[in-house]
């Protein structure tokens, strides 16, 4: 054993040294970092489309991420593929992939092939910051940046570096001109969503007079909780349980379930991670709580209404949540086209709303890149400028139209889709576990809402 282990140890070390000195790992750091990594699937089949770029190339300015000679555009995605929201973000990333594959197959953007540099942050802010630093010198823009506190964390640096990012979060600060110089809001913010959904529920059900608020910490949880507080004030609801930012670990879920069962609010507004939602819902139910649950979109997961899920019926009867686009059960031209694209992509795709979010984000980026190309400036700054010039970006109904020009109140997205769980649709394949209860709803509170800044800011 001894002799063997000695040689094995030496072999191991040599193996590591060899790996470190292997030819391409030495070279690849000096050439383009982000280009060849991950999902090169799209680009390998379609390089034929890139040969005819020479026409406009002398007029297009580029700096980072766009290579006119090679005919490529690099977009970065900071995603959560292994953390709390992996179940929602992985389909979003697939949506991006499918969209760009089809665009590339049609010749790309004016002949330029779009490559995705997908990085997994695990929903940890530290990783997010680190991955951003690694990719900022090799991509022209960020196709999405997952997580409210995470995007807030890189916001200053984004502004310093002059790079555009589409936040994959619905934090209300993205409409604030003090914060959003490099960010493009899309979909109603958590704050607006809370007000809309809560108001809709009070209109649909007559006897809601008390509300409980539970959320995780961070900008995601606290922004939505702030919205719920505004709704309570505006509608005259009494807040009987206030655990905004109060959910973090097992013990806190237990405590929250106890409190909810005791205080028994008519409505609980939750902003949680899906695994926490299921634990809290289950335990409150076990403690005897029978009220209505409503929450921010990312709190819900179709796993709750899967055929084998024990809470399927309870969730279907008592849960509602907000969403930022039509979702799979929508019927607009944009949604139908996206669904066709996804189902025809040759991948194992079952209906799920978040694929459409991915397609929406990709469509945003497509329109932006096209506009930047038309303007002749595809530098990082040029892409940012082109993005911020959109006064009415449309998606054929896939999602609400967005404007990035003008007064924040004019830009503020006020439409929220109220969704209900749909277990039958999940089984039948007509929905991703959720169906529209009310499309593009704007309550009177939100109608009158005057945007003066993010509903929640760190340190307040």
């Amino acid at each position: 054993m001894r002799i063997k282990s000695k040689w094995l140890g030496i072999l191991l070390t040599m193996g590591l040294v060899l790996a470190a000195c292997s030819p391409s790992s030495g070279d690849e750091t000096t050439t383009t970092e982000g280009e060849a990594t991950a999902t090169t699937e799209g680009s390998t089949d379609t390089t034929e489309g890139s040969t005819d770029t020479t026409e406009g190339s002398t007029e297009i300015a580029t700096d980072v991420g766009v290579d006119l000679e090679a005919g490529t555009i690099d977009i970065g995605l900071l995603s959560d593929l292994s953390g709390g929201f992996a179940g929602l973000v992985t389909p979003i990333v697939t949506g991006h992939e499918v969209y760009w594959e089809s665009v590339n197959a049609d010749g790309g953007i004016e002949g330029l092939t779009v490559n995705l540099n997908i990085q997994d942050t695990g929903y940890v802010v530290d990783n997010h910051v680190q991955k951003y630093e690694e990719m900022k010198d090799s991509v022209v823009a960020l196709g999405h940046s997952t997580g409210s506190p995470h995007t807030v964390a890189i916001n200053d640096q984004l502004q310093e570096d002059g790079i555009l990012a589409i936040p994959l979060t619905w934090y209300s600060g993205w409409t604030d001109p003090a914060l959003n110089a490099n960010l493009l809001h899309h979909g109603s913010s958590y704050c607006v969503e809370a007000q809309n959904v809560i108001q809709w529920l009070t209109e649909q059900m007559e006897d809601i007079s008390t509300i409980g608020i539970v959320s995780v910490g961070g900008d995601y949880g606290l922004d939505s909780a702030a919205g719920a507080v505004l709704a309570a004030e505006g509608l005259g609801l009494e807040v009987v349980v206030d655990l905004a930012g109060g959910i973090s670990d097992e013990a806190s879920i237990l405590a929250a379930a106890d409190q909810i069962a005791e205080a028994s609010p008519d409505l609980v507004w939750m902003t949680l991670i899906p695994s926490i939602t299921s634990a809290l819902f289950g335990q409150a139910l076990a403690n005897g709580y029978q009220g209505i649950w409503a929450g921010a979109g990312p709190s819900f997961s179709p796993a709750f209404v899967a055929p084998d899920s024990p809470i399927k019926d309870a969730v279907t009867a008592s849960m509602y949540f907000g969403f930022y686009l039509e979702g799979w059960t929508g019927t607009s031209a944009g949604t139908e086209a996206a669904k066709e694209l996804l189902l025809g992509a040759g991948r194992d795709i079952a209906p799920f709303d978040y694929y459409l979010e991915g397609v929406l984000e990709a469509e945003m980026m497509h329109q932006i890149l096209q506009a930047a190309y038309d303007a002749g400036d595809m530098t990082q700054a040029g892409v940012l400028k082109a993005a911020k010039a959109f006064e009415d970006m449309g998606f054929d109904g896939l999602g609400p139209n967005e404007s990035f020009v003008g007064d924040p109140n004019a830009q503020l997205q006020r439409e929220t889709w109220v969704m209900k769980p749909d277990p039958d649709g999940l089984v039948a394949g007509t929905s991703g576990g959720a169906a529209i209860a009310e499309a593009a709803y704007v309550g009177s509170l939100v109608e009158a809402f005057d945007f003066t800044g993010a509903c929640y800011v760190l340190g307040s």
Binding site: S5, L12, A19, S24, S25, E28, T29, T30, E41, G217
Partner: protein, 411 residues
């Protein structure tokens, strides 16, 4: 005497850190090598001069400083501690409180020469407070008491949102800038590109030099502890604590000292880590960070300073190496020439009908994603290392050295 390197003629000679000439020469060359890495003078390792490798090396230095502390506590004094992450967090938040500019979160804006040592000192004082428990509780139970510190720490960081920014959000940490006292322009700015003595350097290179300098200081400190009275007392406590007590080594005093010193290292390392990363969440100071340090100490070789340095480099550089190898393999699959294609094809899943271990697309196919594959390899390598070489990297180095020492009579 020449030709007789192990013949010492004076106490100083025996106790010297560099007791043989080859050691002196090699150390000198090695330090020279480290200093010149950012200038990319040597072709085969010039890739290490790239900014991202410099960042990795700086990170390895920071972890090495922390690990040196744990090495003193666990390797030298034999007090098993899983609480290192707590002291690092303590150091980091002390640094933040003192050094971060005033804003929505706590910060006094004091200069670096105050917040960095203060981080160490505060952590050290708290370590002293923990010390008496170590006297009462032994062995593996002590490990769990220190582990409890980590969880209590997590609870405190989570709830002191005025200091830490709260869960999920975190806060910014002070930059590496040396000022005299709160001026506008720092005297030395380590984090942005600039020039020193006429040489153009990137921010990463400057930070690298700073970390190198700090590491050298701490290594000297650690090595010196080992050969002084305090160090010998630690080792006697580790080996036979009752016998040591009988001989007059005051167990309580030295255990307290061990905790205090180790926490100082941890506090400084934590402050450096947080400022290096720039922004971090309170969840970072968790059990896995503590365990990372234990792994560094054990993989490197417990009780030996060189071992700790080797361990830190291994653990920090390994994920990057694994990532590079995986990328290299996936490129081979895509480009498809050469003898390694069959290996790459075997290992990587490239299309919907392919089989393999690594799956590079995000679709729900067979195989692990790249990130997961890296994790698995990381875990397996740690296991493999400890199984096949329990003395750690230092043990391997010893074997190699002894082989060549006795060559050609190595049997």
């Amino acid at each position: 005497m020449r030709g007789r390197p192990l013949l010492y003629t004076s106490y100083q000679g025996d106790q010297a850190l560099m007791n043989t000439t080859p050691k002196k020469i090699l150390l000198g060359l090695f330090l020279l090598l480290l200093v010149t890495i950012p200038f990319q003078l040597i072709p085969s390792i010039s890739f290490m001069g790239e900014n991202d490798w410099l960042k990795l090396l700086s990170l390895a230095a920071i972890y090495a400083i922390g690990a040196l502390g744990l090495n003193i506590l666990t390797g030298l004094a034999g007090q098993v501690s899983l609480g290192h992450a707590f002291f690092m967090g303590l150091g980091a938040y002390t640094a933040a409180w003192l050094g971060a500019p005033p804003g929505p979160l706590a910060g006094l804006g004091l200069p670096m020469w105050i917040w960095l040592p203060a981080a160490g000192i505060v952590a050290s004082l708290v370590g002293l407070a923990v010390g008496p428990t170590a006297v009462r509780v032994r062995g593996l139970y002590l490990a769990f008491v220190t582990l409890g510190l980590v969880f209590i720490g997590e609870y405190v960081w989570r709830n002191w949102t005025w200091l830490t920014g709260g869960t999920q959000s975190g806060r910014e940490f002070p930059e590496f800038e040396l000022r005299i006292w709160k001026e506008e322009e720092p005297l030395i700015d380590f984090s942005s590109d600039g020039s020193w003595f006429g040489i153009e350097l990137t921010g990463e290179a400057k930070t690298y030099f700073l970390m190198l300098a700090l590491l050298v200081a701490f290594v000297l400190f650690a090595k010196n502890i080992q050969r002084t009275r305090v160090g010998r007392a630690f080792q006697s406590i580790r080996d036979r604590d009752i016998a040591a007590e009988i001989m007059g080594v005051n167990e309580v005093k030295y255990k307290l000292q061990a905790f205090a010193i180790s926490s100082f290292f941890a506090g400084v390392s934590g402050a450096l880590l947080a400022s290096f990363v720039g922004r971090t969440i309170p969840e970072r100071w968790n059990l896995f960070l503590s365990v990372l340090f234990i792994a560094i100490v054990l993989i490197g070789g417990a009780g030996v300073v060189t071992g700790t340095l080797l361990g830190a480099s291994f653990v920090i550089l390994l994920p990057r190496i694994v990532e590079d190898v995986t990328e290299w393999l996936t490129e081979y699959v895509v480009e498809g020439t050469g003898i390694f294609v069959w290996l790459a094809d075997l290992v990587v899943v490239s299309g919907p009908d392919d089989w393999g271990i690594i799956n590079i697309s995000q679709g729900f196919g067979p195989g692990l994603s790249v990130a997961l594959f890296n994790q698995v390899i990381y875990g397996l390598l740690i296991i493999g290392f400890l199984i096949f070489e329990p003395l750690g990297l230092y043990g391997i180095w010893l074997r190699i050295r002894n082989y060549w020492k006795g060559w050609p009579f190595t049997y």
